[in-house]
Amino acid sequence: MSKTLFLVIFFIIAILSPHVTHAATLHVGAASTSITPDGPVALSGQMHTRVSTEVETPVQANILAIESREGDVVKDQAIFVACGLVAIRGGIAEQVAAELAPRIPDFDIDKLILSATHSHTGPVLVDGNYNIPEGVMTPAAYRDFFTKQVADAVEKAWKGRRPAKAGWGFGNAVVGHNRRMIYADGTAVMHGSKTVDGFRGFEGPDDPGIEMLYFWDENDALIATALSLGCPAQRAGSGSKVNADFWHPIRESLKEKYGKDLVVVGWISTAGDHTPHLQIRKEAEARMNALRGLDEIGEIARRVVQAWEETYDVAKNEQFTDIPFVHQVTHVDLPERMVTKEEMENAKEEAENWSKKEAKFFRRVKWHQSVVDRYERQQAGDIRPYDQKLHTLRLGDIAFATNDFELFLQYGLQMKAKSPALQTFLIQLCGPGTYVPTPYAEAGGGYSAIVQSNEVGSEGGQALTDATVVALKSMWK
C-alpha cells in the first residue's frame, strides 16, 4: 500500500470513528455515605404515614465524579449522586448544590446529578405531605442531615479523583415486571388481579437489560461501578423500617467479591410502570427461592450480581483511557397535563371522602385536592410547563440521559432504540418523580396514568423523548 493511500484510509477511518473526538484523559473519584438518620424517621412512598424506628439495611448515597482533561485543561465534568430515596424532592438538589459550590469551586455545580433509587423505605423529604408525630425527625431536619452527609461525600469523591480507565458492558436479569394489568373492558389497574376472568394481560413490555459501567484506577483496581436497571428498588415497599431494598445486597455482594472500597452506583432506568413485585407464577418463584434459601430481595440481588459478573468477566478486557467525555445540560419545557372538568369533579369528591377518614390518609386528601387546585389554576389561564433540566452525556461509545420522572418504559425503549450510542444509560428520578404514562396507559386509566399521578402526560413524555434523542444525536455529530 502506498503511503498516500494509507493516509487516505487512516483519514477516512478517523472521520468515521466516534472515538477520535475530544480525546482526553479521564479522572474519576468515588465515595459512599450513609444517609440513614439515627433516630425515628417517617418513610416516603406510600399514601399513609409510616414511622421507622429500626434500620433493616442502611440507605446510602453513592457518588461518582468524572472529569476529562487535556493536559491541565479541564474538558468536561460530572458528578453523579445515587440516593436511596423515593425521589429527589423538597429542594434537596438545590440545597446540596448550594452547600457544595463553595467547597469545590473547580466543579461546575450545574453538572451535579442527583438521582433516587425509588426505595419506598427511605426518609420523607417534603414538608406537609404526611402527618408526622412528635419526636420523629422532621423533613426539614432530615434534609439538613442529608445535605451534610452528601456534600461531605461528594467533596471526598471530587477531591479524590485520579487518572482512571473506563469500561462498559451489557447483561440481562429479570427484575422488573410490568405492573399495569389490562382488562376486557379496556381499563388498566396497577397491580390489578391476574386471576379474574376479565384479565387480558400486561399493558406493556419489560426491559431486563442492565447497562453497566466500570472504572479502574491506574493500578487496575476497580474503583466504582454503575448499573442502570429497568426497575425501581421497592420490593420492601410497604415496610416500616429503613431499607435500601435490593441495592443493599447487590452492593454488599459486589464489595465482598471485588473489594470493600468499591462504590456501587444504582441507577433506575425508565420504569414508571414497573416493579420488582412478582406478577404471575408467585408460588413457583417462591418455591425456587426457598430451595435456594433466598428471600425475594436476595434473589433479585443474585440475578443482578450474576448479570454483573457475566458482563464484567468479558468487559474488563476492554478498558478505555483516551475517550471523549461530553456533558450537555439543557432545559426543556414539557407541556403540563391538563385537568378536565370531569377529572376535577371526581378528584373533588375523592378528596372529600378521604378527608372524613383517619388522619394517616392526609396524603391521599392532598393528592386529590391538588388536582382541583390545578384545574382552577389552569382555568384561570395559568398553565405551567414543566422545566426539565436535561443532562445528556457521552463517554466514549456510550451515552447517559436523565429525567426527573417515573417515566413509562416505552419512552426509554424509544430513547435507547433511537440513540446513536452503543449503550444508552437512562437515569430516571433525578427530580420529584411524577409518573409519565403512554397514550395507551392514559386510555386505560388507573393509578399512575390518571391526572392525579401526572404533572406531565403522554404529550410531555413524547416531547421529553424527542428532546433527549436530539441531544444524544448531537453528541455523535
Binding site: V174, G201, P205, R287, L294, G298, L413
Partner: protein
C-alpha cells in the same frame, strides 16, 4: 450474597407451598420413556417458513424428533397416558399427526393414540411440510409429500422407542429465567404496528406487548436417579437463523448438545415453544451492545441463546432435584372445542385481490399469492354461508403440581400469560404449534394490523384466542377439582 432464609426455613416454605397447591387424586407410579430420532432427510430439501423458496443442500445441524412417553399405573392397571413428540419443524399439519397415529396404532396398540401430542419448535430451517405452498422445481429436491412419508415414520420410530422403553421414574419441575424472546411487533405514532418495524425512526413509539422470559422445565429420573429426559418450555420460537438455506435446528441444537455434554449423551431434550406468536429471538434494540458482549465470549448468536437457556435450566435443576416426586397424579384430558374463525371483511377481500394481482406481476411470488388467495376463498365461503368453526382437540394435563396444555397456533404471548395467571397449577407449561400454526393476535394487535395480525395471517382472530384461553383455563381448573 445475602441469604434471606436459612435452608430449614426454606424447606418449610416449600412444604407450605406444597400444601397450598392442591394435591391430588389417586397417587400412582409413573413410568417414563424417551427417545430421539433424526428427521433430517438425506437429499436436498426445500425449507419451510419464508415467503420465498429456499433449497437446503447442506445440513448445519440436524433436525430431530424428541419423544417423551408417560404412563401412570396403579399396580398393573394403566391409569393414564401421554406421548409428546417435539419436532424440529415449522409446524405440524393434521396429515402428519394422523399419519403418525396410524403407524402407532399398529405398532403400540397398548397406547391410546388420541393422547399423542406432536409439536413444532418452529425452526424456519426445517423441511417443507405443507403441500403446494412453494414452487419446488429442482428434480433432485425431495417433494413435501415424499418428505412427509419419511417424517411420519421417523416420528413414529421415536414415539415407539420412547413408549417401549418406559420404566419406573421420578419427576421434578422448576423454573428460572433467560432472555431469549423479544416482542417483534413495533408500533408507531399513527397507530399502526409492524412486525420487525424500524425502531430507529422518529415515529416509533414502542413495543406492542410483553415478553415472558421464564424457562419452565420438567425433569425425569430413573429409579437409579439417572436423568432420562427433560422438557424445556421457552416462550420463543426457534428461528434465529430463519433466513438461511441449510437445514438447521436453530437454538435447540446447542441447547441439546450442551445439556447432553454435561448430563449424559442419552439425555432426551424436548423443546417446547410457549405462546409466542408475537415473539422472536431476533434482538430488537441494543443489538450492537449485545453483539459486542457475545463477541467477547466468542459465541455465535445461537450459542449465546443456548448459553442463557442452559444457565436457566441448571438453576432450575439445582432446585428441582431437591424435590423429586415418584408418587404423583397424571391426568390427561382431551376436550374438543370450536373456535370462531376470523371473518374477512369486504375491504380486506378487495385489498387482497389487488395485492394478488400486483404480486402476480413478479416471478417468485407463488407463496405470497397462495397466502393471500386463501383470504379470498375464506371470504367467498363466508358469503356462501359455508364457513365452519375452527375445530381442535384441546389437550390439558396435570402432572403433580404442574399443568401442561397444548394448542395448534402461533398464539400471542398475552394469551399464554392469561393461561398461566389464571391456572391453579404451580407451573403451567403452554405448548404452542401442536398443529398447523396460524397466528392468533390480541385485540390491540388486530387494531394495529401488520403481518401476523391481518386477515391472511389469522384463521382465528382475537375472539377465538380469548375463547381458547377461557376453555384452557376451564379445563386446567377441572384437573384440580378432581377428587
Amino acid at each position: 450474597m445475602t441469604r434471606g432464609l436459612p435452608f430449614t426455613f426454606g424447606f418449610a416454605i416449600v412444604s407450605i407451598v406444597s400444601l397450598l397447591v392442591p394435591t391430588c387424586v389417586d397417587a400412582t407410579t409413573l413410568h417414563i420413556g424417551a427417545s430421539s430420532r433424526s428427521i433430517t432427510p438425506d437429499q436436498p430439501v426445500a425449507l419451510d417458513g419464508q415467503m420465498r423458496t429456499r433449497i437446503a443442500r447442506t445440513v448445519e445441524t440436524e433436525v430431530q424428533a424428541n419423544a417423551l412417553a408417560m404412563e401412570s399405573r396403579d399396580g398393573d392397571a394403566v391409569v393414564e397416558q401421554a406421548l409428546f413428540v417435539a419436532c424440529g419443524l415449522v409446524a405440524v399439519g393434521d396429515d402428519i399427526y394422523q399419519g403418525v397415529q396410524e403407524i402407532l396404532t399398529q405398532r403400540i396398540p397398548d397406547f391410546d393414540v388420541s393422547k399423542l401430542i406432536l409439536s413444532a419448535t418452529h425452526t424456519h430451517t426445517g423441511p417443507v411440510v405443507r403441500d403446494g405452498i412453494y414452487e419446488i422445481t429442482d428434480e433432485d429436491v425431495i417433494q413435501p409429500r415424499d418428505y412427509k412419508k419419511f417424517l411420519v415414520v421417523r416420528v413414529a420410530d421415536a414415539a415407539e422407542a420412547a413408549w417401549t422403553s418406559r420404566k419406573v421414574a421420578k419427576a421434578g419441575w422448576g423454573m428460572a429465567h433467560a432472555v431469549v424472546a423479544y416482542n417483534r411487533r413495533s408500533y408507531f405514532d399513527d397507530g399502526h404496528a409492524q412486525m420487525y418495524g424500524d425502531i430507529s425512526i422518529d415515529s416509533f413509539r414502542g413495543i406492542e406487548g410483553p415478553e415472558d422470559h421464564a424457562i419452565e422445565v420438567l425433569y425425569f429420573w430413573g429409579e437409579d436417579d439417572a436423568l432420562i429426559a427433560t422438557a424445556v418450555n421457552v416462550v420463543c420460537p426457534s428461528q434465529e437463523v430463519e433466513g438461511r438455506s441449510a437445514i438447521n435446528a436453530d437454538f435447540w441444537h446447542p441447547v441439546r448438545e450442551g445439556l447432553k455434554a454435561k448430563y449424559g449423551k442419552d439425555l432426551v431434550v424436548l423443546g417446547w415453544t410457549g405462546a409466542a406468536g408475537d415473539q422472536s429471538p431476533h434482538i430488537r434494540y441494543r443489538k450492537a451492545a449485545e453483539d459486542r458482549m457475545r463477541g467477547f465470549r466468542g459465541l455465535e448468536r445461537l450459542d449465546e441463546i443456548a448459553r442463557r437457556i442452559i444457565v436457566a435450566w441448571e438453576e432450575a435443576y439445582e432446585g428441582a432435584q431437591q424435590d423429586k416426586r415418584d408418587d404423583l397424579p397424571l391426568v390427561h384430558q382431551i376436550v374438543p372445542i370450536e373456535l370462531p374463525r376470523r371473518m374477512v371483511t369486504e375491504a380486506e377481500y378487495e385489498e387482497n385481490k389487488v395485492e394478488i394481482e400486483r404480486l402476480k406481476q413478479t416471478p417468485g411470488n407463488f407463496r405470497g399469492v397462495e397466502w393471500r388467495g386463501a383470504v379470498l376463498k375464506r371470504y367467498e365461503a363466508q358469503q356462501a354461508g359455508t364457513v365452519e368453526p375452527f375445530m381442535m382437540d384441546l389437550h390439558t394435563l396435570r402432572l403433580g403440581d404442574v399443568a401442561i396444555t397444548a394448542n395448534p397456533f402461533e398464539l400471542y404471548t398475552q394469551f399464554g400469560i392469561q393461561m398461566k395467571a389464571k391456572s391453579p397449577a404451580l407451573q403451567t407449561f403452554v405448548i404452542q404449534l401442536a398443529g398447523p400454526g396460524s397466528y392468533v393476535p390480541t385485540p390491540h394487535a388486530a387494531e394495529g394490523g401488520g403481518y401476523s395480525a391481518i386477515a391472511p395471517s389469522n384463521e382465528v382472530g382475537h375472539e377465538g384466542g380469548q375463547k381458547l384461553v377461557d376453555e384452557t383455563v376451564k379445563a386446567v381448573k377441572a384437573l384440580w377439582e378432581e377428587k
